[in-house]
Symmetry: C2
Subunit: 233 residues, 2 copies
């Protein structure tokens, strides 16, 4: 196979036809760098048209074998929201106990915004996933990976729209599935708090609160075998 005129891709001259403009590229990176896992919300509401754009962005995520395993359930009922909040509080306490020496530090963190967020959505993997084998014979968990990409799309679109999103995974999936009458085989993976915020955190909230720091990028990069540093070009 020959490659007639492969697109040039050097730093100062990205492939003209295929790359976005410099301004567009900056906007994409801005969304990536300024997206935050929000825990503080300002009430209010999300316009239905904006919410629809966020869901459409989610639905344009990649999925293994194009299986589109994601389902999005809006929590409209106040009593249901209260029920979910109670399940999260229960798991928050259980997690704190399991953390041992970090229990107190954990309990000082705000880890959810279920009551304050304008919108609460539950993201779940659909039932009937066992029939999708493409890309999943040896890695069945790729459906979760696809659904996570959908959530990331929604998250980035929300940042661009000025809407905060927090992904809460402090819950017992069996209890949440029961509360929402999910069929056997469906699995909740996220409680998404979505809504207006007063401000986005300048840095990740858990970094600001000294729970953890971002690792240097080079510590995460290897070449050819695990632990071998990336060669310099």
């Amino acid at each position: 196979m020959t490659y007639p005129d492969p697109p040039r891709l050097i730093d100062s001259a990205p492939a003209i036809e295929l790359a976005f403009s410099a301004a567009e590229r900056s906007a994409v990176y801005r969304a990536i760098f300024e997206r935050r896992d929000m825990r503080h919300f300002a009430g209010g509401m999300v316009a239905p048209e904006a919410m629809r754009r966020l869901l459409t962005a989610a639905h344009h995520a990649p999925s293994v074998g194009f299986m589109q395993p994601w389902r999005f359930l809006r929590v409209a009922s106040a009593s249901l929201r209260t029920g979910l909040h109670a399940l999260v509080e229960q798991e928050r306490a259980a997690t704190a106990r399991a953390l041992g020496e970090r229990e107190e530090a954990f309990m000082r963190l705000k880890v959810e915004g279920l009551r304050e967020a304008a919108e609460l959505w539950v993201v779940a993997l659909a039932d009937g996933r066992e029939k999708h084998i493409f890309g999943r014979r040896t890695l069945p968990q790729m459906d979760l990976a696809s659904a996570a990409c959908a959530i990331q799309n929604l998250w980035l679109a929300a940042r661009a729209e000025g809407v905060g999103v927090g992904w809460v995974s402090l819950f017992d999936p069996v209890a949440v599935a029961a509360l929402l009458q999910m069929p056997a085989g469906a699995e909740p993976i996220a409680l998404l708090c979505i809504g207006p915020v007063q401000a986005f955190y300048e840095e990740p909230m858990l970094q600001k609160e000294s729970w953890a720091q971002r690792s240097p990028l080079d510590d995460l990069l290897f070449e050819d075998s695990w632990g071998q540093p990336l060669g310099k070009p």
Copy 2:
């Protein structure tokens, strides 16, 4: 708790301080809608500076408890690339057999670009993840979800840069881990083909090839209980 002057968020007037400009919002949605899982590559190379930007984007993904479980291994050795390609071919044949009546349709699809892509990277979950309990006591698989968000960040940044990305999950993770000398507990989740392409597909390749179609968004949205359609605002 009171909410003094919550940011307004109606469709025609997004929260002025927090939303991106209209042009920036469009760029973010463009990346989301024009990103494709690429299987055809044009050789060439990716400038190291561009590759570094893609990895930096990945590293700014959300992660459960800020655990940053992702590791990125660049395949520089030609023999290692050949070895990975052989493992993928092996799994491609095994998947085809497992698909039964869809075996022939599957074998007609191009499902990888390992040999043609300028860059081949293996994404893996790090070893030692069991010590991270925050957000994972009942949902340990949230580390995979985080790493998938990192890959989606890289993918969107690559689209903006005009660089193609394909996520191959047709492999036996145990064999790939052994080939790359991963420690116990580390798990490969993706072979990423990254590089210049002649063009991005107009629509998802698997849709173009009639393997599957995108579901109507409304089929995936529920309200308050599974299967109950979303109420109209």
